[in-house]
Structure formats: structure tokens, C-alpha cells
């Protein structure tokens, strides 16, 4: 079973890298980019075959290590 985790900065936390990307896009004449937020994408292969148990496991991983919940949100997708 595979888990895909998206980690993003919480709303309101300044994202200087996202801001830089936005400016770079504007520099390349991509108009109409209102906001850019950048984050991390992590893919984990699990031996667990039950989706609910897997989600609990991965959620624990996010809380303990993968995300810092002071500034980051995470979103888990379990793929069979």
C-alpha cells in the first residue's frame, strides 16, 4: 500500500520560496498568477494492507516527524 503526503505551509505563514516563484513566473510573463505556495511531496511504501490502519500510521508519522505542525499542514492520500 502506498501513501502520498502533501505538506504545505499553513495559511498566514510567510512562504518566501512561494513568493520568489511567483515573482519568477511574473518575470516570465505568466500573468494572472494570484498566489504561489510551495511545499513537499513524500511517497511512502507500506507493508500494511488495510487503508484505515495505514492512514493512522502515516498520520502519526506526519505528527512526529514529517511535518512541523507549528507551520505546516499535511494531507494524506492512501493509494491501494
Amino acid at each position: 500500500m502506498k501513501a502520498r503526503i502533501h505538506i504545505t505551509l499553513k495559511n498566514g505563514v510567510l512562504d518566501p520560496q512561494g513568493k520568489a516563484i511567483q515573482q519568477a513566473l511574473a518575470g516570465l510573463a505568466f500573468d494572472g498568477v494570484e498566489d504561489v505556495r510551495q511545499g513537499k511531496f513524500i511517497e511512502i511504501e507500506l507493508t500494511e494492507s488495510d487503508a484505515d490502519t495505514a492512514r493512522v500510521q502515516v498520520s502519526d508519522m506526519c505528527e512526529k516527524l514529517l511535518a512541523n505542525t507549528v507551520i505546516e499542514n499535511y494531507d494524506i492520500e492512501i493509494v491501494a
Partner: protein, 230 residues
């Protein structure tokens, strides 16, 4: 009593801080590998700078979960002074010993230069040899030194006098221009509520030798040496 310096894979200021500690205390600190589960007898724990685990994932995140950190947290909670410098600060924040987090510098660039710091608390075991409001010149060298805490935490830090150092100009004014990394309220170092854990981005150990261009960092190690000798 000896001092313990925690060494992680990727630590690289461990030797520098050991030199400063040995100069101040007259004896070499114990270098403790991160995979140890127990600390030697010690009255001061130092978590040095560097790039533990390559700063991969987030600076300090993986080191914060090393076996030795359980022992460090335990000792911190029972009052042993713990000093985290640079990556050490990032690790202490990730380990929950200090509030907030160090984010990517606002410039997005690594910055290595001398900065001026205003001493906001001169009544701690770390800062007792400085005067309140004294201005120190010490270097920073980091990519992720942009201190952030949510509004409530920040209020608590400010109200509780937990800000130990702020970036300032040569006249001691806390200005945006004097802020090398975008830290909120120009925060360069913070204490825990009990005042026995200090995390700071600047490197006092790097200017503790006149041949290297300054000694403003030395009083911190002298104060600690005196405190643990007592």
C-alpha cells in the same frame, strides 16, 4: 563537572564549541554520539551547529528524534542548562524544548557574517557575564534562521521575558535592516519558560578568540564555566 556536547551525523561546529568550552572551563567536554541513549554526568549540555542529517526534511527535524535527545529532554526538564547554537537551536525547537521554529531565511540565501545582538536578558546562567542591553558582535551562518512563532506563542515569549537576544544595529536599535534573516521581532535567541534552555542562531563560539577577530562570544562560556563550577 564536565560538559556534554551532542554530536549528530552532520554536526560540524562540535569541535569549535568544544574549543570554546575547553578554553573557558579548562577541560575538554565529553563528545556524546547521537546514538547513545544516556548522557554522562554533566552540568551543561550543548547542542552544536552544523547540518545534522544534511538538514534534509527540515533543519533539525531528524536529529530531534535521535536516541540521545530523549535523555537531553529529560535533563532539560529537570533543570540542567542546555545551549543550542544554530542547528542546535533548530534541533531544540523541533524537539519541543523551545517554542516556534526556524524557517528559511527571508532572503532565501545562506548568510554568513557578523551581526550585532542586543542582550535582552542578562540574568540567566548563559548571559550573566553580559550587561542588560549590551551590544555584542558575533557571526551568524545559516540558511534557516528565520524565527517564527504564532501570535499567541510570541506574546507569551515577549510577556515572559523569554527573548534572550535580538538582532540590532550598532547603536542597539532593533531595525528591519539589522535583521539578517527575517526573524519575527528580530529574535536571535530564546529561552524556555524556566530559563535553563537557550537556543540562538548566532555563533558565540566563533568570536571567542582575539586572533579570529573578536571575543564578544567568550563571556557566555565564561559565565557557564563559572555557573557549573559553583
Amino acid at each position: 563537572m564536565p560538559v556534554a556536547v551532542i554530536v549528530f551525523p552532520g554536526s560540524n561546529c562540535d569541535r569549535d564549541v568544544a574549543v570554546a568550552l575547553e578554553t573557558a572551563t579548562g577541560r575538554a567536554p565529553a563528545m556524546v554520539w547521537h546514538q547513545e541513549s544516556a548522557l554522562p554526568a554533566c552540568d551543561l549540555i550543548v547542542v552544536p551547529g552544523g547540518f545534522s542529517y544534511g538538514d534534509y526534511l527540515r533543519s533539525g527535524a531528524m536529529a530531534a528524534h535521535s536516541p540521545i535527545m530523549r535523555a537531553v529532554i529529560e535533563r532539560a526538564n529537570t533543570g540542567t542548562p542546555v545551549l543550542g547554537i544554530c542547528n542546535g537551536f533548530q534541533i531544540l525547537a523541533e524537539a519541543g524544548l523551545l517554542p516556534g521554529i526556524l524557517m528559511r531565511n527571508a532572503s532565501l540565501k545562506f548568510v554568513c557574517r557578523d551581526v550585532d545582538l542586543r542582550v535582552e536578558r542578562a540574568d540567566t546562567v548563559f548571559t550573566g557575564a553580559y550587561a542588560q542591553g549590551e551590544i555584542l558582535r558575533v557571526p551568524v551562518a545559516h540558511h534557516d534562521g528565520n524565527y517564527f512563532a504564532d501570535a499567541e506563542t510570541l506574546q507569551r515569549l515577549e510577556d515572559g521575558g523569554q527573548v534572550a537576544f535580538r538582532y540590532c544595529d550598532t547603536g542597539g536599535n532593533v531595525t528591519p535592516e539589522a535583521n539578517p534573516n527575517g526573524s519575527i521581532n528580530n529574535i536571535a535567541g530564546i529561552l524556555n519558560a524556566d530559563g535553563n534552555v537557550l537556543g540562538m542562531m548566532p555563533h558565540p563560539e566563533r568570536l571567542a578568540d582575539p586572533l579570529l577577530g573578536g571575543i564578544d562570544g567568550a563571556p557566555m562560556f565564561d559565565a557557564l564555566a563559572e555557573a557549573i563550577a559553583a
